[in-house]
Amino acid sequence: MAVGRKKISCPPSAEGTALSEKDISERRVTFFEDHPNLVYSWTAGQAMSRFLNELKNGKLIATKCEKCERIIFPPRIYCELCYKPIDGWVYVKDTGTVQTFSISYIDPDARPLEKPVIVAVIAVDGASPNMGIMHILGEVEPEKVYIGMRVKAVWKPENEREGAITDIKYWKPLEG
């Protein structure tokens, strides 16, 4: 073993060469470009297939566990706390309460959005406390949204539903 420690008063030594955006765009440095194009098909599985098919009917479905007495939403085929199969399926309401929200000015690639999107976590009525989903809010001004606001799902027309979470267009305030 190479014993013999060197006394370095203040590591680290900050090695590395910083580049600017222009170094790439004006090809001042050597680089290699590639555009991977991978295509995926995700099977929805047992729980989510049933959930998505119920969306076509304009309904939200959950599962229940009789041991911990939870109504589990979004549904799964097992209770992860009791670690046992669920005991059945139950419909929950398409109304709920805003748990938290954000007003987003950026798209998935961090590009600016023309019109901000209001996103919220909505605890759904009929499910156990805190059991909610993320979704979009509409028909409301950003400054009018508050935590605890009651909201209701606005569905696409039946013939346009395709069994996706976007079959709910958005959630709108229940009153006013």
Partner: protein, 400 residues
Amino acid sequence: MEVETVKGLKFHKKQDVAIVGAGMTTFKRRLLETGKELSYFAVKQALEEAGLDIKDIEMVVMGSAPDAFDGTALKGEYLLDGAGGSDRPYLRVFVGGGTGVFAPIAGYWHVASGLADVCLVVCEEKMSCCYPHPQSAFKYIWDPILDRPLKPNLIWIFALEMRRYMHVNNIRHEDIALVSVKNKANALDHPCAQVAEKITVEDVLNSEPMALPVRRLDVSPPSDGAAALIMVAPHIARQLTDDPVWVTGVGWALDTTHWTNRDLYFPRYVAEAAKMAYRMAHITDPRKQIDVAEPYDPFDYKELHHMEGLGLAKKGEAPILTREGITARDGDLPVCPSGGLLGVGNPIAAAMGVKACEIYWQLAYRAGKRQVAKEVTTGVCQAWGDLMQVGTVMVMSNKR
């Protein structure tokens, strides 16, 4: 139903674990060097500080976050040679942003179990490869069925958590912005820093809105960089130095992936991980027993959130400690004296350089201009990641 669980009760280590060297590269938005080259730079510094040669390294742990950033699947293998991992047992670990403390935890297993007497831990991230912005890779961590059709940006999840935290504890954005002001100023003393600057609370509150309440200056930047640590058994540490830093406790925990089923105001995953690490380190009152802390601060509110998870402040109390200057570098409980991710930069896994490495340097009294004013014995570092569900915690001490 609230379930109280304590993990890590039965723990019999073969030997104690000391840290004897660390290194890191500069953190920048875009670096010329490849991930392999950055790993090499960080490892060379750590070896030099420890007074060791690569031949002395028995096993290597590599930490690196999503393959999608580098666009290279099997990234651990891709980085192998630069990280000094060839021809020896080598393992890549990954828990998203939590990797920066999880990789040293994995290094700790290697030595504590007696499998290795000298273990090198390397963390690397090169986010700039993903073009034009690494956010495009982040969209693939969302659930493909429930979340992705809503066209989310990863910032959403933090904005939702920040709003909930502010609402439940009645905290104003001004109080949260103080964290960004403190950390970016602390980073002025860090030679590797990417976004060190003197800013004001008003600068934060008036910066460009991203996903409100999150604004530009509430967020750490994407970065390229690498960091390294060397962990050894006591009989090796004795040969190398009179003042090693000991790892006295490790803990990690994950909360449910169904994140819309959690109450986002409190990081239960951090509290569980801290409970495990503190039990191992015989810490019963973290606020009194911990002298310096590096909680994970990719967002300003996260430092406060994590301080509360780590038991360094009561629920809702962290902003008060910040406002009173207690968490400043010359305060009673210095928090993120390195400048953190907000000031030095956020190369996901390589954030180890400002978390585990910084606590090592602070406890070894080798942090130079960043050295905290008070006398230090015990420090804690923590990271967080995956779908904002993992807490990774490491406690260190310069007393065995």
